[in-house]
């Protein structure tokens, strides 16, 4: 409450408004709409009635402001608040930046902003605390965005309009305030008591629950599609990365040398029955490779790339039985195989195997059964295991029993080297890369089909792209599709069309969905960019 008081006092210097009114506004209208506030103001402070009308004009003017300015203003407010956080710094805004603003309004809008402070702050808080850099960027590059659609939206879209409305009005007002005032305290939308509490807790647990408290997440709607160079395939990525100058080579080398001095100690401890696990930021592949090449050349060893997308425990066991033990024959289950391996290693003490596993915590190996089998392998006295883990929750894979089987010794080897190999497989990457694969699979599948079938798919794809801007596009209904195909002389009966569709469905090129009216709708589950590329390519071929 004291904060509010403080602010109110400050406001009083510049504005002519009764304390009670402001207080009332702040406490009552935490989440109420701007217009309501305005109405109350009109009633209460007669002196400003005329100017308030101006404001309402302003408001309307603001609502039709160009997106560009909106962004600029938003950015300004964010920056103001950031700067305000560092005391002693003052920020002044050139009013020339906002030519639309009538010269007569500032005073009144200041006033207005005071009454809305609680609400404004809540908005501001959300923005600033989540995305200041984003905003900063926008401040420096306002022209980057020229589209006029709403930049921010909640994932629950029904609130979108209202939010936008609020923001636009409030943001314009915000920039008029002196920065020290705007950021006196980061506040929440609710009661002052809560505000204080939230301010004090830097408790990250609460942050978590706050983030998960509502299903609504407010992020910007921009997509990678709007950037032209959105997709890079693996090759170009590598080429580009090679161009990037390496940083801190000297320091990295020193780090690596520190780790390398431990090699013989590792060997000693491996021989004494311990297993070694490496953790820490940075790819440990090169380190382990170096360990392998420098110390293991004369002994039998097995390298397992855990990050390989289709690695399984079975393949590890297979390479042990087939290549190390030279055992021919199949096994009913991995457990049988493990039994044989354990038996052979127990019988023959001269048999020795070094097991190097990169990324023991990879998706394919982290399962309980895989870990159990690997742990049992590691517990054999003549199998020496050295592995690396990267995932933050990797140690949760092991319960007490497994840990004692593994008999780990932990070594921190922070290398800071990039995880090039580990992230090089297509499916381990984010959406940026998935495009090329989908495209190549599309072309591959379609090339093996008849021209008619290709035509069918093209037809669907075109329709799909035509409707790409329609958010409620349910897909093409089967009957409709059949009609179109007939008209294009692609099929002669519903049955043939269905047969073709089965083919597509098997290759996951289309998806069928039953609408609310019971009609079957067809969809292509490939993103629009890839589809466009595909159509372009197809057109070239023809």
């Amino acid at each position: 409450m004291s904060q509010l008081e403080l602010k109110r006092n400050k406001a009083l210097e510049a504005r002519f408004v009764a304390d009670e009114d402001v207080l009332k506004h702040i406490s009552d209208n935490g989440g109420v709409k701007v217009r309501k506030d305005r109405a109350q103001l009109e009633l209460n402070i007669k002196r400003f009635v005329k100017k308030l009308e101006n404001i309402s004009d302003d408001d309307e003017a603001q609502e039709i402001l160009e997106e560009q300015n909106y962004v600029a203003v938003l950015g300004a407010c964010a920056e103001a608040s950031e700067l305000a956080q560092t005391p002693g710094k003052n920020v002044t805004f050139e009013s020339s930046q906002y030519p639309e603003k009538p010269a007569s309004t500032p005073k009144s809008s200041k006033k207005y902003s005071a009454s809305n402070k609680a609400e404004l702050k809540s908005k501001k808080n959300e923005f600033v605390s989540t995305t200041p850099y984003r905003l900063r960027k926008r401040l420096t590059a306002p022209s980057l965005r020229s589209d006029s659609e709403s930049d921010y939206s909640a994932s629950c879209s029904e609130e979108e309009e209202e939010d936008k409305d609020h923001k636009e009005t409030s943001d314009v007002i915000l920039d008029q305030k002196t920065p020290s005032k705007t950021r006196a305290a980061p506040a929440s939308k609710k009661t002052p008591a809560k505000k204080l509490k939230e301010e004090m807790t830097s408790n990250l647990v609460e942050e978590y629950f706050e983030a998960h408290s509502s299903s609504k997440v407010r992020t910007s709607d921009r997509t990678l599609q709007k950037l032209q160079k959105r997709k890079l395939d693996q090759q170009t990525l590598l080429v580009l990365l090679n161009k990037a100058p390496p940083a801190f080579t000297a320091e990295l080398k020193e780090l690596n040398q520190q780790h390398e001095s431990l090699f013989s100690k590792w060997m000693l401890q491996l021989h004494l029955g311990f297993s070694i696990v490496l953790y820490g930021l940075g790819s440990k592949r090169d380190l382990l490779e170096k360990f392998r090449t420098s110390l293991l050349q004369d002994s039998v060893h097995l390298v397992v790339n855990g990050f390989f997308p289709s690695i399984t425990v079975r393949s590890i066991l297979n390479s042990i039985t087939e290549e190390v033990l030279d055992h021919m024959g199949t096994f009913r289950s991995p457990l049988d195989q493990l039994d044989l391996i354990m038996k052979r290693f127990k019988e023959d003490s001269s048999l020795e195997l070094y097991l190097l596993i990169h990324n023991l915590d990879s998706k394919m190996l982290r399962g309980d059964k895989s870990q159990q089998i690997l742990a049992q392998l590691a517990s054999l006295p003549n199998i020496h295991l050295i592995a690396s883990i990267d995932h933050i929750n990797a140690p949760l894979m092991w319960d007490q029993a497994k840990q004692s089987l593994y008999n780990w010794l932990w070594y921190e080897t922070t290398t800071f080297s990039p995880y090039l190999e580990e992230t090089s497989y297509e499916n381990s990457l984010l959406v940026q890369q998935s495009g090329s694969l989908a495209l190549s699979s599309l072309t591959h599948v379609l090339h093996s089909l008849t021209p008619n079938a290709r035509g069918i798919f093209r037809l669907l794809a075109r329709y799909h792209l035509e409707n790409k801007d329609n958010p409620s596009y349910p897909g093409l209904s089967f009957q409709d599709f059949y009609q179109r195909c007939r008209e294009a002389f692609l099929v002669n009966s519903e049955l043939t069309l269905r047969a073709q569709l089965t083919e597509f469905r098997d290759h996951k090129l289309i998806r069928t969905k039953r609408g609310t009216d019971g009609v079957e709708y067809l969809l292509i589950p490939v993103d629009n960019g890839t589809l466009t590329d595909f159509l372009e390519k197809e057109d070239e071929d023809i």
């Binding site: 984003r134 590059a141 022209s143 990678l224 000693l268 021989h271 311990f274 007490q400």
Partner: protein, 715 residues
């Protein structure tokens, strides 16, 4: 051959057969690591020998501790068996109700120790009761079929051991083909028992000396809790049907509480069992014995310093309750000590050490001279001796020998007096110096215990002990001193005996005193006048106040002072002893790093504050702001911390490129107009996929081009 491929993930490397080494090269690695490899061969041999001794000692301890439990179990098995033998009818009727005799073995939560217990248990059973012992683990038996397979497999193996060699082949074949069912099991059992019956009497006798005539089949479920209920239920129901055909005994290994049986099995199934409960010894007792036998003894020259011991005990108490892990930590400290301390070559039995001192090289002598404790010692000497110590190797060696002997004597005295003090402190209320001897040991090892507050309060409390207690404690102490090997304690023992004698004498004297008080009480009863009563009461009070310390109290003070003097002279902290570095392992940090690592903290530090690892001045930055020069992944990580549950990739990318381009000092306006630079884009992609690999984010389908954040909170 490279180990990266897009088609496979496993690479086997086999060196040519001629290149393959045959001899064990472990010792080589021991010497390779350090440039300071004095006497490494000898050190390694000493280390191995010491570990072997310690390991066998721990096994012995375990065996002794489990003896009671195993005896009980064998008795139980014998009973169920003897019933079968003698009271055939009764057994029959019990079998009719088809109850399986079952031993529920409550072992405690320290799961890692169970394996050893079960191993020795099955050995003991095989030696004493029956060759047919099967131990099953839950992970091997996902279904009833697997369970029976395992059961049969293990039984057949036992069979092979007993059988003559000619049977082996057919058994092997049958094992593969056999249809694993209870019927075949009973058939097998019948054939086996018949065979032993029909064998020659001489052979029969030898076998029956160890086993009984129709030995029971013992099935051990090592981890009862992890078995799926269905498997257990099925097995029990099926085997109860066949219990008439062969004597089956189950042993359940239970980590939690016996209640679990009833939770896992419905009444209809558990009523088929005839359960008897057995409790194994607690892990705390086990640890106490291990510490007592391994650490508080002069038998092994190697010692742990206070901090190291504290680390190991903390891991035990706060993480796993596993004695096995404690011993592992102990092993690691032995290895580390011998690996890192060149003078550890002297860490062996006294006589051997004295011999080794003579053959020390000049470098090793220098090593001795650089020991902090030795330098302290030198400084306390007169100047001529100082010079001699620092210049003459031969003189140094002589002195070292005596110092080592002193150290040995110190330990002998230390442990005796420690035990004695422990007897005193355990009798105190609230245990100011700890209940366990290990706590007392830690307190004494670290610093001068008599300077601590806890010791003060302990002495205060000792001064208030009752006579009976004091006498009992003194007797115990006398026993400890007598049993100790040190000869220098003969005086102490005499003194203690003298104290005990004086306490005896006191008894006679106190009875007289009591007489006086009794008479005064009688007087009290006589006076009926209120005035007189008051007067006598006052007089009594007066006399009490002015009364001098009784003889008992005097004696008690004397005893406590005597103990105090013992503590002060013998329980000096180990760090003060000259040459303690030779036998004490004190780098607790390495131990903690290797045994109880914190990978999350390491990751967070690297991401938040790369300067910790990369000692570059440009990375030095305040908390909370994003350094432009930091590695890409650090920047991306810090940017993602500012986001909520979902992160828009485009915005993230732009923020990243703003931060990165800010470093390069380019005018932001110039860059801003254009699209994001390709290289920066590529760097961003790499950093984001690295974060995904590390588990900070994951792709989200909630919104296009968004990723979900997975972590909240540091570490």
């Amino acid at each position: 051959m490279s180990t990266s491929s897009v088609s496979k993930g496993c690479f086997v490397f086999k060196p040519g057969s001629k290149k393959r080494r045959i001899s064990s090269p472990t010792a080589d690695y021991f010497s390779q690591g350090k440039n300071d490899s004095e006497d490494s061969g000898l050190r390694f041999a000493t280390c191995q020998l010491l570990w072997k001794q310690i390991n066998s000692e721990t096994e012995k301890i375990q065996e002794e501790l489990n003896k009671q439990l195993f005896d009980n179990l064998i008795h139980f098995l014998r009973q169920s068996h003897s019933e079968l033998q003698t009271k055939k009818t009764e057994w029959m009727c019990r079998m009719k109700s088809s109850e399986i005799p079952t031993a529920a073995l409550v072992l405690g939560v320290n799961v890692t120790d169970h394996d050893m217990t079960f191993k020795s248990l099955s050995e003991v059973l095989q030696d004493n009761v029956t060759p047919y012992v099967v131990s099953l683990q839950a992970k091997e038996c996902p279904g009833i079929k697997h369970l029976l397979q395992k059961l049969m497999g293990q039984l057949m193996d036992c069979n092979v051991d007993v059988d003559s060699s000619e049977e082996e082949e057919c058994v092997n074949i049958s094992q593969k083909k056999i249809r694993c069912s209870m019927a075949s099991l009973s058939k097998w059992y019948e054939s086996v028992t018949k065979k032993t019956d029909s064998e020659t009497p001489s052979k029969k006798r030898t076998s029956s000396s160890r086993h009984w005539q129709s030995p029971p089949i013992v099935v051990i479920f090592k981890d009862m809790e992890s078995f799926t209920t269905k498997v257990l239920q099925d097995f029990i129901v099926i085997s109860s049907q066949h219990i008439r055909e062969f004597p089956l005994v189950l042993i359940f290994g239970i980590a939690t509480s016996p209640m679990i049986i009833h939770r896992l099995l419905p009444h209809s199934v558990s009523s088929l069992l005839c359960i008897e409960l057995f409790q194994s010894l607690s892990c705390k007792e086990h640890l106490a014995t291990v510490i007592d036998k391994l650490l508080l003894t002069t038998q092994f020259p190697f010692k742990l310093s206070e901090k190291v011991l504290q680390v190991l005990i903390n891991i035990f108490l706060y993480h796993d309750f596993s004695v096995q892990n404690f011993i592992k930590g102990f092993q690691l400290s032995i290895v580390e000590h011998f690996y890192s301390q060149p003078l550890s070559v002297l860490c062996c039995q006294l006589l051997e050490a004295k011999k080794r001192v003579n053959s020390l090289s000049h470098n090793q002598c220098e090593n001795i001279r650089s020991l902090p404790s030795f330098r302290r010692y030198v400084e306390s000497q007169v100047s001529e001796k100082q010079i001699a110590l620092l210049t003459e190797d031969s003189f140094l060696k002589e002195v070292t020998q005596t110092l080592l002997e002193d150290l040995h004597i110190y330990h002998e005295n230390y442990f005796t007096v420690l035990r004695c003090l422990h007897v005193f402190t355990t009798s105190l209320p609230k245990y100011p110096l700890g209940k366990q001897i290990r706590e007392l040991h830690c307190a004494c090892l670290g610093k001068s215990v008599w300077e601590t507050e806890e010791y003060e309060s302990a002495i205060q409390l000792l001064r208030m002990l009752a006579k009976d207690e004091l006498v009992a404690i003194l007797q115990k102490c006398a026993e400890i001193f007598i049993s100790s090997s040190g000869k220098q304690f003969s005086n102490t023992v005499e003194k203690l005996e003298e104290f005990l004698a004086r306490f005896q004498n006191l008894e006679a004297e106190t009875s007289e005193v009591q007489d006086v008080s009794v008479s005064s009480q009688k007087e009290l009863q006589k006076t009926t006048d209120l005035y007189h009563l008051q007067k006598t009461l006052l007089a009594l009070k007066e006399s009490k106040r002015s009364k001098k310390l009784t003889k008992f109290e005097m004696l008690r003070f004397e005893v406590v002072d005597f103990i105090d003097s013992l503590v002060r002279s013998y329980l000096a902290p180990a760090e003060m002893q000259t040459l303690n570095e030779v036998v004490y392992f004190n780098t607790a940090n390495t131990l903690r790093e290797h045994l109880n690592a914190a990978p999350r903290i390491a990751l967070h530090t690297a991401l938040n504050n790369p300067y910790c690892y990369l000692k570059n001045q440009t990375l030095k930055s305040d908390v909370g702001c994003i350094s432009n020069t930091a590695p890409d992944i650090c920047i991306v990580y810090k940017l993602h911390l500012e986001c909520g549950r979902l992160i828009n990739l485009v915005d993230w990318l732009e923020a990243f490129s703003t931060v990165v381009t800010a470093v390069e000092g380019t005018d932001p306006d110039a860059v801003a107009t254009d699209q994001v630079d390709e290289i920066i884009h590529a760097r961003f992609i790499r950093a984001v996929s690295e974060l995904e690999l590390l588990g900070f984010i994951k792709p989200s389908k909630q919104k296009t081009d968004h990723v979900a954040r997975l972590t909240w909170g540091g570490c």
